[in-house]
Amino acid sequence: MKTFTRKMIAGVFATVCFLSMNLASADNEVLIEQVGDNLTLTILQAGYGNSLSGDTSQSTDLTLTGGSLIVDLIQDGNLNEMFGAWIADGDGTAVLDFYFQGDSNIWDMNMGATGSADYNDILSNIVGSSNLFDIDIGGNATAESNNMDLIILGDRNDFSTSFTNSKVWAAGSGNNSTGTQTLSGIVIDSSNNVWNFDITGDDNAFATKQASNDGNSMTVELMGSDGDFQLIQNMTATCTPACAGVINLDIDSENASVSVVQQD
């Protein structure tokens, strides 16, 4: 596990850190609305029932806007939530590290929702079961040339169901405001993204889509039984030569169902 030594440095607008060493504590709430460059932010939420969002009603997106962001977020406990889609927009290099340890957590992130979010390096490390995830990248604006790594160790994690920021589950529809996405889960609607994920555990459901232009690649390692995975790589732009995508799939499983669609 990575050692976190970075100190929280106040950014342009606001940085909030809640640190609780009492694992029995509950219902800590962190509200973030941050605009500006060169933010270094570390948040450790320990306990259960904690949340990160944009307002106290938990209905507004947590906002991170700016370039050259360095964000470490750790939620250690059960029943934690990041309410509302993250709006993590920034035009410049950002390093975003997310760590979730616990069960029944909810994570909804939206990058490039209202502004471009290019050249970011995102690491998500999840240890726990029955977590729910909805990640949308490049919905309205560009989110190109990102490098995303997702490591999941646990059972019954669900990346295949989408929900809105009002906590209403919207199965079968993505969180893309263009209304063009039909896939729930992790939707990457931009080009030149490198998408690597390892999923270890049983009964995991996972769906992801890489769309838009050329240069997307996906490397997937799946270990565990009874998984249900849907991988889509859909190049929609016109390229010369034709747009090409790459999927590398490594499966060690029983009773898994994997659907791969690769089109240009």
């Binding site: 190049m235 499983s253 169902s257 994997v258 791969v260």
Partner: protein
């Protein structure tokens, strides 16, 4: 079949006399066509010239020889003979003849089709200087007589033939000595053939040739049958039509097939009659046509052997699919890559799938160009992978 007796004696003596004191280089005559049958193929020269591959046509170094619906036999000045069957393509990459055998060189590339190679018994070209290439293997010459058959995918079947005395029926039945030995080499490794009628199959240049298999079913009866198989196509068609009609409803068609003698019809009276003529002396029981037919008969067995060898490391079995590149799915299937079974399909998009060895999986590939292909690893259950890959 046209056989040129004068060409094979007088002219050869003249040629050999000429080379006794000087070496022969590119663009000089290095041999010629001394047997030809069927329709005429062509010879392409580096000068841009294209010649008809007719009887008595001279051959020079760097020629590319291609047969059409016919066969031909080339004799080089060192007495090496190469026979080409129908639709065979061979490149003479290099031929240098020198009075010193160690300075002579021969490099042939059998690109496609079936060819029989017999080194000259005079030893005028050192065998280590003879390079025979197919798309998937290099053949080292220590013997004198072998065949190669290269299919449209570049796979090569190489068969070591017995000593030429085995054309004698009695010796053939008693068993035959090999004409020597040959090595079949590529990036995957080397196999040595040192028994008559041993054969190896080479699928790709990266995969080792299969272990040599003895074509035990090869016997005189089979050769005779093969010869019957290779009778002129037109006669076969006529016979098939006759049989079909005999099986049909003569009442409806008002036709009595027994009254017809198709062999007496114009088929043999047309211009092609001459090319169908043959005498007992013209029958070469080891001719390349026989080997073409033999490949058809044995290819399944040899493919099975190759597949067995490919999968022997992991014990995994493919169902409705073959190891290596499978044309039906366009997947390249590797039984062991990085400790796993690996499937790779690369059209415009690229997908690679690694499965743990011993896994059971069903893979369905749907391509707008090739349609749907279903195959399985070990058993068609447990892991279900459906792939839609369109350009």
């Amino acid at each position: 079949m046209h056989r040129l007796a004068l060409f094979s004696k007088t002219k050869w003596l003249l040629l050999l006399g000429c080379i006794a004191t000087s070496s022969i280089n590119a663009a000089e005559n290095i041999g010629g066509i001394f047997e030809q049958s069927g329709s005429v193929g062509k010879i392409s020269r580096t000068t841009g010239e294209t010649l008809q591959a007719e009887l008595e046509t001279d051959i020079v170094s760097m020629d590319e020889v291609e047969t059409a619906n016919g066969r031909l036999k080339i004799k080089f000045i060192d007495d090496t003979q190469v026979s080409l069957t129908e639709n065979t393509y061979m490149e003479i990459n290099e031929y240098v003849f020198d009075p010193d055998p160690n300075k002579s060189k021969m490099a042939l590339n059998f690109v496609s089709g079936t060819a029989r190679f017999a080194t000259g018994g005079l030893g005028l070209v050192a065998r280590q200087n003879i390079q025979i290439q197919t798309p998937t293997a290099s053949i080292g010459i220590r013997g004198t007589d072998f065949t190669t058959t290269v299919d449209e995918l570049g796979r090569s079947l190489v068969i070591l033939l017995p000593d030429e005395d085995c054309t004698d029926k009695v010796k053939l039945e008693e068993g035959c000595a090999p004409s020597g030995s040959i090595t079949v080499t590529n990036d995957g490794g080397t196999q040595i053939l040192d028994e008559a009628y041993q054969a190896v199959m080479v699928s790709t240049f990266e995969t080792i040739p299969t272990s040599p298999v003895k074509l035990v079913n090869l016997n005189l009866d089979m050769i005779d049958n093969m010869f019957i198989v290779s009778e002129p196509k037109e006669i076969t068609v006529a016979q098939e039509e006759q049989q079909d009609q005999l099986k049909g409803d003569a009442g409806l068609l008002d036709f009595d097939g027994l009254d017809q003698d198709f062999l007496d019809q114009a088929i043999l009276e047309e211009d092609t009659e001459q090319q169908f003529e043959f005498s007992e002396l013209d029958i070469d029981y080891l001719n390349v046509e026989f080997l073409t037919d033999l490949l058809e008969v044995l290819s399944d067995d040899i493919d099975a052997l190759a597949q067995e060898e490919l999968s022997s490391g992991s014990g995994d079995k493919l169902i409705s699919q073959q190891w290596g590149r499978d044309p039906s799915s366009q997947f390249n299937n590797f039984p062991e890559y990085d400790g796993k079974v690996f499937f790779l399909r690369e059209v415009n998009n690229k997908i690679g799938i690694k499965l743990a060895q011993g896994s059971m999986a069903q893979i369905i590939i749907n391509d707008s160009d090739t349609g749907e292909t279903v195959f399985c690893l070990n058993q068609c259950e447990s892991i279900y992978i459906r792939i839609t890959q369109n350009d």
